[in-house]
């Protein structure tokens, strides 16, 4: 609990937590403006999907950058000499931002439901909406975990740029392949209306499961590297 509070304060004071919480809402506002300006429902949906994807990538970059700063500033070492287990420290740096990302995307989803005429978010089935929102937030988890892997050895800015670059490298083939039913970014396809909305729960759960599996694997790699690293 002491560690969780410490990491939360660290994220808050560096304004990273504010960024994580605000980015999805900003993406939604931009989508609302695009929707209003273009008058096209499809343009609004695509803007929302792209905006939320960008928010997820930037959130992951903020998490990676924060952890890199924790190591570079010596704060991680300060905690480790006080017998804080390294796995607990890197665990807190993953779980806490992940919860913040989830909360931010749920709030953005509610906002989108109120402001945008999207068929999906106005659907009467609240479970489908919730699953879709989690699926939209889920790609931020493996990216955050990848950010932690990079942050173990790289400085702050390099980590943030690398996370964004990695997201682009991963996203490009996903867009080109376009098999929305299996790949990790299915949530965005749902939001954009490019996947039939009659089975959002199946698609959403597949996407979330894939993201969580990859995130767990990458977090394990990050923890292994962090435990072996000299501080």
């Amino acid at each position: 609990m002491i560690l969780t509070i410490h990491v939360a304060r660290q994220l808050w004071i560096q304004l990273r937590l504010l960024g994580i919480l605000a980015l999805p809402a900003i993406a939604t506002f931009v989508a609302v403006i695009v929707d209003g300006q273009s008058g096209s429902r499809e343009a609004g949906r695509i803007a929302l999907a792209l905006g939320l994807a960008t928010a997820a990538v930037l959130s992951a970059a903020l998490v990676g950058g924060g952890f890199a700063e924790e190591i570079r500033s010596g704060a991680a070492a300060w905690l480790v000499v006080r017998a804080v287990p390294r796995t607990a420290l890197i665990g807190a740096w993953f779980v806490l931002p992940a919860l913040a990302v989830l909360v931010a995307f749920v709030l953005a989803g509610i906002l989108a439901g109120l402001a945008l005429p999207l068929a999906l978010v106005q659907a009467p089935d609240p479970i489908a909406v919730a699953v879709t929102l989690v699926a939209v937030a889920a790609p931020a988890l493996p990216l955050s975990a990848a950010g932690l892997v990079i942050a173990v050895y790289a400085p702050v800015r390099v980590t943030m740029v690398a996370v964004i670059g990695l997201a682009l490298i991963v996203a490009l083939p996903l867009v080109l392949l376009g098999d929305a039913a299996v790949h990790a970014a299915s949530g965005y396809w749902l939001v954009a209306g490019m996947v039939p909305a009659d089975r959002p729960i199946t698609v959403g759960l597949q996407a979330t499961g894939l993201c969580m599996a990859v995130a767990g694997l990458l977090w394990g790699v990050a923890a292994l590297l962090f435990v072996r690293r000299d501080l």
Binding site: H6, I13, S73, G74, A77, V81, R82, A83, D230, L231
Partner: protein
Amino acid sequence: MPTSTPDALWSSPAAGRLRPVAVEVNDLARWVGHQPLLDGIELAVPVGTRVLLAGVDAEAPSLLLRIMAGLARADRGSVTLAGLQRGSAIPEGWARRIGFVGSDPGIPLWMTAAESLDLAARLSGIEGPDRQRRIEESLQHFQLGAIRDRPLQHAGRIILERTALAAALLPDPEVLLLDEPLRSATAPDRLRLLRIPGERRTVLIASRYPAQQGGIVDRVILIRDGRVALHAPIGELDAQRLPLSLRGLTALADLVS
């Protein structure tokens, strides 16, 4: 201040006669690149000793302390501090009995001095009124009262170093590891703050500038070629009319061997 080891143990006649070992290092090795900075270090430091660690390779003493503190890994060997091995110790027990201050203070700069001491106390399992009392005493002893509630990012390096030392001493550790401590402090301040009270406390100071540790340590250790080349009372230097410097320590090591 009470120590975390029961007083009954320390007051027993056996403890006085046996001079128990506070720091025990067995066959410790660490390669950095293709060079063995530490290559089979064997060390036993009795309780209550103040030791200067110097090295012909200036990185070696610092690396040894960081391995002891759990910040760096060893390629082989074991370290026991105050009877504890890091991997198997209860975290609060370790944090309470072992203190470390690195050459980089490392305290999160957004914290105030009081907050960093409070976090150090909580991580050591110090709760209740005792925590507040210790924090107040530390703030006073290390002259941090005036900036106690200001973020450390506005403070100079000297304040950061003092806060780091105060945080390390707050749990009243039995073994204190200091890696180039108080580099920014004036000589009188260094002497005052590093003459750390507590006859049961064992202090190891790694320094590239042995002469600065005069009046603080009572034993010297020289690491050469990755091994302990000298482990002697500081009086040996006086007896051989050698200065407390790297050259003096090397000459004494040659004489002894």
